[in-house]
């Protein structure tokens, strides 16, 4: 479960997040929509323990992400917008390495299986990342996050660079994870993907959560209109 309580974060007197409160239960996929600089990434960085909020606090499964970020991270799978991997290692080696860093030593079969599940065919597993497209790298990043078998997933523009088919596969995968009782926060400005994937949606503007709704209550078109209205006004 993800809990954010009255978080405020300033950078040199510029408000990045303003009194934000949010709760995402297990089995729920929450889409945080917002334009660039709205505060989505800052929120995720606070949850990851890379930033300390000026006010308020956040917890992951009840663990404070500020005071005990190391323990909190053990429960989190994270996918960033630009998955930066080691270009001189293969996809398989990258996955193996990041798994080992998180304390997991998976066998070769398991590693191949994970990559296949994320949409990478066997033939590319042993190719160096420098020859991968952005979408393929993103898939390795997703495999790294999934390998953690976490109960909470934080995704910062995860579909960035993915082709429509891969994006769809990502949506299916996230839904499967939520069925397995994971709590998922997905920050994005891709209205369609958020509408397709999430159960609940929030719109963030200048660090404030200005609107929250259930996905079932709005169509993609309506969501687009609401989003544009909130962002423009």
């Amino acid at each position: 479960m993800i809990s954010i309580q009255n978080i405020t974060k300033n950078f040199d007197n510029n408000i990045a997040v303003n009194n934000l409160s949010l709760e995402i239960k297990n089995g729920e996929i929450y889409g945080l929509l917002g334009s660039n600089g709205a505060g989505k990434s800052t929120t995720i960085n606070i949850l990851l323990g890379f930033l300390k909020p000026d006010e308020g606090f956040a917890t992951i499964n009840g663990i404070d992400t500020t005071s005990d970020f190391i323990s909190a991270r053990k429960h989190i799978g994270y996918i960033s917008e630009n998955v930066s991997l080691y270009p001189y290692l293969s996809g398989l080696e990258n996955l193996d390495y990041f798994c080992k860093l998180s304390g997991k030593t998976l066998g070769q079969n398991k590693l191949h299986k994970l990559l296949r599940e994320c949409g990478l065919e066997n033939g590319v597993h042993n190719k160096r990342i420098e020859y991968y497209s952005k979408g393929m790298r993103q898939k390795v990043g997703i495999a790294i996050a999934l390998a953690k078998e976490a109960s909470v997933y934080l995704l910062d523009e995860p579909a960035s660079g993915l082709d429509p088919l891969a994006s769809n596969e990502l949506s299916i995968m996230l839904k499967k994870l939520s069925k397995d009782n994971a709590a998922i926060l997905m920050a994005s400005h891709d209205i369609f993907r958020v509408r397709e994937t999430c159960n609940r949606i929030g719109i963030i503007k200048k660090g404030e959560l200005v609107k929250e709704m259930n996905t079932s209550d709005v169509s993609t078109k309506e969501l687009e209109k609401i989003y544009i209205d909130y962002i423009q006004n």
Binding site: L48, G49, F50, F69, I70, R73, K74, I76, Y78, S80, N82, V83, S84, L85, Y86, Y88, L89, E93, Y97, F98, K100, L101, S102, G103, I144
Partner: protein
């Protein structure tokens, strides 16, 4: 940590430029070590031949007055060991032969002239040059971007997020680079030990060389990695570490060296010689029969042997006078040379203390010391050769005095058997364990840096840097 090191090594090995540079380093080191040992061997051979020739001439002295033989004198050769081919230290400028004769303590002469032109301009190409300057520079190039690059690509966030602390990542990256330097170092020493003659003493010294360079490489790689994690980007990290490297290797040693010479100045050669001459003139003049001090000694010996004139003395008084002259000369030498020795020691100590600010100075001092080519080894040779000169002169003067001749009998001679019976000069490089006190400051400074940097990395790398 081992996983990070393995991945770093994959980064190195899968980079063709790195492989070429490494191959170039290994070949260069192999060639330099081989040429150094070859040159060393030739020098050793020439020296042995010269030493043998000098000894043969000495032993072939036939029917020569002992005091004439004292003026004829002999030569002491500073021995060359296999480690000199690695770091020639001050040997290039101090010379390696000293003439030992009566009445005078000569200065060491004949520095190795085979590369004099290149010495004066660039310094000799020894493996120490590569190990002290080139390899650390390459370690800097490997380390400076190791973390700033991770930061710039946002990969550091992913690494830290996976559950590895930034401190651990920094240590692992620094160790990866350090292992590379250590590998080149061990290869060099290994080649050195295979190609050159190695005994227990040389082996012990090699171990100390590996430890000293190993600690220094650790300092360089840790500092470069630390700056890489602290500073904002690659450019800042590289320029900072290069600036430090230039200050360490070029500016600080020169500035501090000049300051040390000002604080503890050595007398000029002229004033040293003048003071020696003045003090020496206060003693007995062995060749001046009207000298008053000689007269006092004569009265003493006449009384001792209960005779009224030198003619009736059963010994050769000239030999006694010559020895007295030598002993007085020795006191004068001890006083003035001792003074210089103290100044040199103070200079060296003060210079070594700068290792607190500049570990490069400590490394250089230890490298020369363990290779047997520093000031202390040189002074040890000078002392041993002077001791031999004293032994030689005393033996000759005693023969002159008590060998059967009478005072004034300058035509009295001895045969070659006597000259053969005098031991030849033999000098071995002192055991390094007996010399360690001279290098304590260097070792402390190097260890201080070696412990301080990990402490800084441990306490100054936190999540704010990610």
């Amino acid at each position: 940590m081992i996983n990070i090191i393995i991945v770093e090594w994959k980064r190195f090995i899968r980079n063709k430029l790195f492989v070429y540079v490494t191959a170039f380093f290994i070949l260069s080191l192999l060639l330099i070590v081989f040429l150094g040992i070859e040159q060393n061997y030739n020098q050793q051979l020439r020296q042995t031949q010269a030493q043998k020739y000098v000894r043969q001439q000495w032993e072939s002295l036939e029917n020569v007055n002992p005091h004439r033989a004292a003026h004829y004198g002999t030569y002491a050769f500073k021995p060359v060991n296999v480690l000199n081919s690695m770091d020639s230290g001050i040997n290039d400028i101090t010379g390696n032969v000293i003439k030992l004769e009566g009445h005078v303590q000569n200065e060491i002469v004949y520095s190795e002239a085979s590369q004099s032109l290149s010495i004066s301009k660039f310094g000799k190409l020894k493996s120490s040059l590569i190990l002290q300057y080139v390899i650390p520079l390459f370690l800097i190039f490997l380390a400076y971007g190791s973390l700033s690059n991770e930061k710039e690509t946002q990969r550091l966030k992913l690494l830290v997020f996976q559950g590895t602390s930034l401190t651990k990542i920094t240590f692992a990256k620094s160790l990866s680079v350090w292992i590379y330097g250590l590998t080149l170092l061990v290869i060099t020493i290994f080649i050195q030990s295979i190609l050159g003659e190695t005994d227990l003493e040389i082996f012990t010294r090699m171990m100390f060389i590996i430890i000293s360079y190993g600690v220094y490489y650790f300092i360089v790689s840790s500092l470069a990695t630390y700056l890489s994690v602290r500073l904002r980007n690659n450019t800042s990290a590289l320029s900072s570490i290069l600036a430090i490297w230039i200050i360490w290797t070029i500016f600080l040693p020169k500035i501090w060296g000049n300051a040390v010479e000002k604080i503890y100045p050595l007398p000029s050669r002229q004033s040293f010689k003048t003071s020696m001459k003045i003090d020496r003139s206060k003693g007995i003049d062995g060749h001046n029969p009207t000298d008053k001090r000689r007269e006092d000694l004569k009265v003493k010996y006449l009384a001792q042997y209960d005779v009224d004139s030198l003619k009736n003395l059963p010994i050769n008084f000239d030999g006694i006078v010559m020895q007295q002259d030598e002993e007085y000369g020795n006191l004068v030498w001890d006083k003035h040379f001792g003074n210089n020795y103290n100044i040199l020691q103070r200079q060296k100590t003060l210079f070594q203390i700068s290792g607190i600010l500049n570990p490069f100075v400590s490394l250089q001092s230890l490298s020369m010391g363990f290779c047997g080519s520093d000031m202390y080894h040189h002074l040890d040779f000078l002392k041993k050769s002077e001791d031999y000169r004293r032994y030689l002169l005393k033996t000759l003067n005693d023969k002159h005095a008590y060998g059967g001749s009478r005072t004034g009998d300058w035509k009295w001679t001895v045969g070659s058997n006597f000259f053969k019976s005098i031991d030849d000069f033999s000098h071995q490089i002192p055991k390094i364990t007996s010399q360690m006190e001279h290098y304590l400051i260097d070792m402390i400074c190097l260890l201080f840096w070696g412990f301080m940097l990990p402490m800084i990395i441990k306490h100054r790398t936190n999540r704010d840097l990610v």
